[in-house]
Point group: D2
Chain length 475, copies 4
């Protein structure tokens, strides 16, 4: 650096973690390093509501099973409610010296209700506790994501219905291929998001088993009732093997896997948005709400939100790869490596929530230029296939011959710089004398689109039915 006054950069944003001695020495001593590398309260505080809910259920069970006295149980439940309220209202003082959310809650509980607090940890350990909290949290997050996904489907379906008859050039290799309904195109994403929802739902179902009672790794001698705590927490059943319950995090991996696929779907739609709103294409425009402008070029609408949605796939796929790597080769049961499971999941949930909100917003916000879409769809001879089909069906030409005739006509049109249906009849007849005026009606993009009536096809009548079906299946 040329400026010696600049403080040492490149270091944690957290000012307490930054000090001049750090260049070469991370912290003033081993204790400081350990605190920094070890404490998880900086991120696992997000589990607070689940941690307290799980403790409440555990406490109720301990009382019911006569493992702790009812009076202590009442004190604990009241104390936990108090802690919950404190955290909810922002008055709770999290402390790094208490390492994690579990210890922070328990320490505060002890301060509030005294020694009875100590009984709460009977017949459990932090190993089953954190596994329980994390599953509860992720279950809630999935429920919220499902709502976000449904909202995106709703926005797409609404827009699709408006644009059943809007003609878009269907592309392969970014080259015009055949005309398709813009509504049909949007419904393709409704299908993808539908499968994404299915993947999250499967993940939710599979993770919905209670680790509580697995204790440190081997179960517990106390006469606990794991069915009861599972039921109280909305789990389908207790996990069947204590070692598995505290050792595995495949539910987090499955979640990240589903999110990675979703992020790829969103990145594809974002790519299309960036392309559609570009000046050269102009199929769609977005309002100021979802673009950034320039003080000089008033026509400029940079699709920043779409670009960021596209980019976030990197972060989500990176999070998935990262957690797979953390777990690779870890022996059973618990290792501290597993503390690295939460941050990627939290980041991924936040990213996906933000991306879904932005994408839904853009779908709702977008203005479609049917004229520019249609103009692009008519360029590129997208109805050449239809002309060939016409020759086969109406004039009885063999397919090879039909292709040949079509090829010659396309060449003539290309040379004149016109579309197929702008070729004069005499030109058509110079190649195939039996052609009549009737052919023109077949060469419009609307006719081409309307003809593809096979199930799942782009004919407007099909797309209209698909809109109805999508509403029933997804909304």
């Amino acid at each position: 650096m040329s400026d010696p006054r600049a403080p040492a950069p490149g270091r944690p944003a957290n000012p307490t973690a930054t000090n001049r001695l750090w260049g070469g020495r991370f912290a003033r001593g081993p204790a400081a390093i350990m605190e920094q590398i070890n404490a998880s309260i900086g991120f696992d505080r997000r589990l607070y509501a689940q941690d307290i809910a799980a403790s409440r259920a555990h406490c109720q069970m301990l009382v019911r099973q006569n493992i702790i006295p009812a009076a202590d149980g009442d004190a604990i439940l009241a104390g936990l409610d108090h802690v919950l309220a404190e955290i909810g209202s922002g008055t709770f003082a999290f402390k790094t010296e208490h390492e994690d959310i579990h210890m922070n809650v328990e320490a505060r509980l002890a301060a509030l209700i005294g020694p009875a607090a100590g009984r709460l940890h009977t017949a459990r350990s932090r190993n089953d506790q954190v596994a329980t909290d994390f599953r509860l949290w992720l279950r809630d997050a999935i429920d919220q994501l499902d709502g976000d996904l449904r909202a995106l489907q709703a926005a797409l379906i609404v827009k699709a219905e408006l644009h059943v008859d809007t003609v878009l050039p269907g592309l392969t290799h970014l080259q015009p291929a055949q005309p398709v309904s813009f509504g049909h195109h949007l419904l393709a994403y409704v299908e993808m998001i539908g499968r994404d929802r299915g993947r999250f739902a499967d993940c939710r179902r599979r993770l919905n088993e209670s680790p509580l009672g697995a204790a440190a790794l081997a179960g517990t001698p106390y006469p606990i009732d794991r069915d009861l705590t599972a039921r109280l927490l909305g789990f389908d059943r207790p996990a069947a093997n204590s070692l598995d319950a505290v050792s595995d995090r495949d539910f987090a991996l499955e979640f990240l896997g589903a999110a990675a696929i979703l992020s790829v779907h969103l990145s594809r739609f974002a790519e299309e948005l960036v392309y559609w709103v570009s000046t050269a294409i102009g199929f769609v425009s977005l309002s100021d709400a979802f673009t950034t402008g320039s003080s000089i070029m008033p026509q400029k609408r940079n699709p920043d939100a779409a670009e960021l949605v596209r980019a976030k796939s990197g972060r989500v796929i990176g999070a998935l790869a990262g957690l797979l790597i953390v777990l690779k080769g870890l022996p059973l049961a618990y290792s501290k490596d597993m503390q690295e499971d939460k941050e990627p999941v939290f980041e991924c949930v936040d990213s996906m929530a933000l991306c879904l909100a932005a994408t839904t917003g853009m779908v709702e916000d977008m203005t479609v230029s049917a004229a520019r879409m249609r103009a692009a769809a008519t360029a590129g001879f997208t109805t050449a296939t239809d002309l060939a089909d016409y020759l086969v069906t109406n004039l009885g030409l063999p397919f090879r011959a039909a292709h040949h005739v079509t090829g010659r006509l396309v060449k003539l049109a290309e040379e004149r710089g016109v579309t197929l249906d702008a070729l004069p009849l005499e030109v058509l007849q110079s190649v195939e004398p039996r052609l009549t005026d009737a052919v023109y009606a077949e060469l419009t993009v609307e006719a081409s689109m309307g003809r593809r009536t096979s199930y799942g096809g782009t004919a407007p009548e099909r797309v209209r039915a698909a809109v109805r079906a999508a509403r029933e299946r997804f909304l």
Copy 2:
């Protein structure tokens, strides 16, 4: 290179692709480059059975719907059977000039039955054809993997039943924590594999929709019956949107995601095997069949198979990341990028099949040294928790006091280099006078293990029940 006679290395193993000119120039000209980068027959030939099955179904439907004459249909079906037999018997000559499996089959069909072969491609395109073939192939692969997974569970359950009463030191942080049943430990993997099977089954269910009839991207004007082809091919239904059907590959991503999680599970078990069979630990030994030896050190049994299983997770996770990247940001509908979807899936299926065979083989092959396991389990004061529990339950000590007493006794035992249950009674009583001979029975690893009777716990009676339940749930 010091040796000028050495031929140019670092180039494709395929000898036809290697030539001296290539150093610096990849191929003799653009055509050669394109053929090399474009042709997929080198790998997609694996789809041959599915490609022919899909063509048979499509042909039957075309006849039924009167789209092609019955006589042509018969000729096509007979011809396809012939091609299938040729490929199955290894007499088929694949040609790169025909690019892919679809064209290779069709060209051969044309050679066999003449122009009627041309009618087979009516109302379909390579876009829906390859999507159909790939789904069929993956469905078959999943069915076979499920059998392999079930076989691994069976081997684990058999071994678990033999070792319900075998005491293993349960580890956290690779440090002894509490004694656990070795059978219980093996059942933890039965649970993981059970969830893996669930993930593959969900993937199979979700992919089991027929793209056939989506044609290039927009559907087709021909009066096809997509329900019929779907039914003939064992699909649950036709895919609802033609663009989605040819554009998405999320089924392959979902498969790779499930495989990546499985590979992590297998890597964890492999890590444990490598550790267990090491000279220093010696819990398990493997026969010559699954180890490699050394001509000098006869005791050496390098667990090569386990190490390779552990390593394969890298390849599978890499394949998952790779395909996510291929699809990221691709606009609809088909782009050539998507040709990169098959190789990672093929490699992953092969890797997983091999890893499962090797792991199942090692489980069946392994010899357990119960004595070394028990010895290790008694070291490390793994029953200290039990002593504290005893003091609470039998002498009525508060938990804190019980911990304190236990800590002092452990320290005394550590100083003498003995286990807790080897401390003389007078030493015990010097710390807590009310202790009697009765305590010794509580301090054995068997007692500790037997006491953890909570559901999912390691007590042998629980593990025996878990073995029975696992048989019912999984085999």
Copy 3:
């Protein structure tokens, strides 16, 4: 599958590995599984020239140091030459029972020259041997890649020189921003490729240390001369630590890292090509050599090669992630996991070679439509910044005021659907009365481009100098 005649699919392409029993059972028995999972000759045969070169050097050194008799040394050298010739001519019979390339060569050597062959392995082990071979191979591969990269730079520079004065709309967010020279744009990639070459060169320099003589892991008691073998093989020096020499593969990781960055650079250029050649944009066209067509739509030029180049980044990044995962958490020294190091590197080298050949070919092949580029550059008010600059510099307006005036004029032009320089003077003066005819000369894309004369800028004179400099720096 609906067709029971279809053979079991989803299995290794290698016919010897496929058998009907495999469904559920991978192989007939443990031995078969081990052979399949263990043998590396299927891929490491690519190291043959390096393996023989390293053996030759080792043999020469053993003779020089009087560790083996000169006569034996002569026999070994002659035998190795023979083996090299056999492999080079394709007459060598590789055998899976000999596991890897080292054993295959040695077994053949023994068959050729008898017991003296056994002396070759004195004072080395397969651990240092494979590390040596792999480094030599990668060094050669890097040298060839460097040639390929240089060839791509040459093609870009040639094209850049032709198009110094060709105006392209410089895009940000896929929106027109400012006019740039197409030559300047191509030179941006010359810079990127230049840094890629630097990364490969650094990797080559760092890997160029000889592991030979590290033996199994600890060095050897024989009086070997590691400097001599290093020198004979073109290494800069022997590796300084025997454990490090056989345990680490960071050179392969560094190579894959450099390749991943290169693949991203190529994917960006490929994305631009796909966009440029699309019907809607039409800046560039590619000949049949690098596109695939359609028998119906003669104008269609699917840029398959560009799409495949774009997609290959997935494979390369996946290979990088995969090998990082393999090595993560491996204790020293050698573990069998490390056998997984070669396939990702081989695949990556092949992919990059193919992608570079294809990209270079496309650059050489492409035809530029300067007219369409210029037309697009004049749309989008790309010279609005220039107008504002003019107002500041010539009329002395403060920047804010200049922006304001520009914004109003752009709005007027937008309403009329014309470019800025097509606004009549009276319209200009209605907003800023002091404007004169002189301003028009400043509003052309050529003027805008020509004005950016700062070092590294897009003014043709700068770009011409940059072309000359690039030739000197890179060719």
Copy 4:
């Protein structure tokens, strides 16, 4: 959730981002979504010192080139110093409405010095500004990481020197192979870290070009002096192409690649530490400072720090994959996707700094049990190779015969449960009558180790020289 009082979880930790409406709706409106997805001030504030340093240099150049008046320049420089002081002292109020660090600084500058502030942005754009800041930041971070890496090497070298003569069982496949010096083993990591430093240095050298003056993408018409700003900021030269300068982020990718390799090296050492400190192995112990204990099991020293270092490789590799994905397929020049470049780099720098501090601390802290290492090294017949060598060298046996004799003796020792050098002479002679007492001296682990005197080998004299050389090369 069973507890309806629990607030909606799973949402951003930032309380201002959380609101009840958010479940299903991300934010109250498009504006809020855009602000959240678009603003980067939450993380790019870490660039503040670099941003101000770059502005200072730019300002000095503008004055020198007479582009802005000297008086304005003085005001700007004084104002920037003021802003720097405010941020440094924590009194600066960052505002999300100003989006990023550049706008926050500039807005504050305007408030401090008035309209002259507006002149600072002459002849630059945020595109070249952020590229400049980020390079400066990363350069500083690399310099600090290099110090950390050097500190780790220093700790390893100090420990290696202490343990030149300490015998460790050298492992392959986690099985004892040959005795090695523990100092030699530690020096293997010194080599790896040395190459890591080389990679970071190469990255630093390559990134040390100034983008400043590239402006938005095309350069600028102002008569700027890019050499001057480059020099003032310590860059080696200005970047040669304006498009490349604002479009590429390969320097960040190269940094992440080097960090990923480093993280794998650290994960390997961490794995060894976890193994060494485990109760079953006991080669090394760590103090309370780097372990966590248990109130019950006083012997328990959970190596949490080592486990976290091992796990962090997941995060770093994920960050690398993530940024490669972000950049894959992005057309030139700037896209908003590129805003995703900073967070992965920041996290990676923080993770690596923490991991290096922890690893260095553990190396300094660790206590070595030479006795347990030696005991383990003598088990496993690690000197069998030495016996065979002895037979060849001293009794003139052919190598095959020597192997055979050794194998029989090892088998006899194994049956008796003793080491080779504990076999009575008559037993030795029963297999090879010419053996004498002299052989025993050759069979100790010290003799084996001492004999490996080849360069890079484990003989103490070699290791002592290697320690000296390492000091010279690295410290």
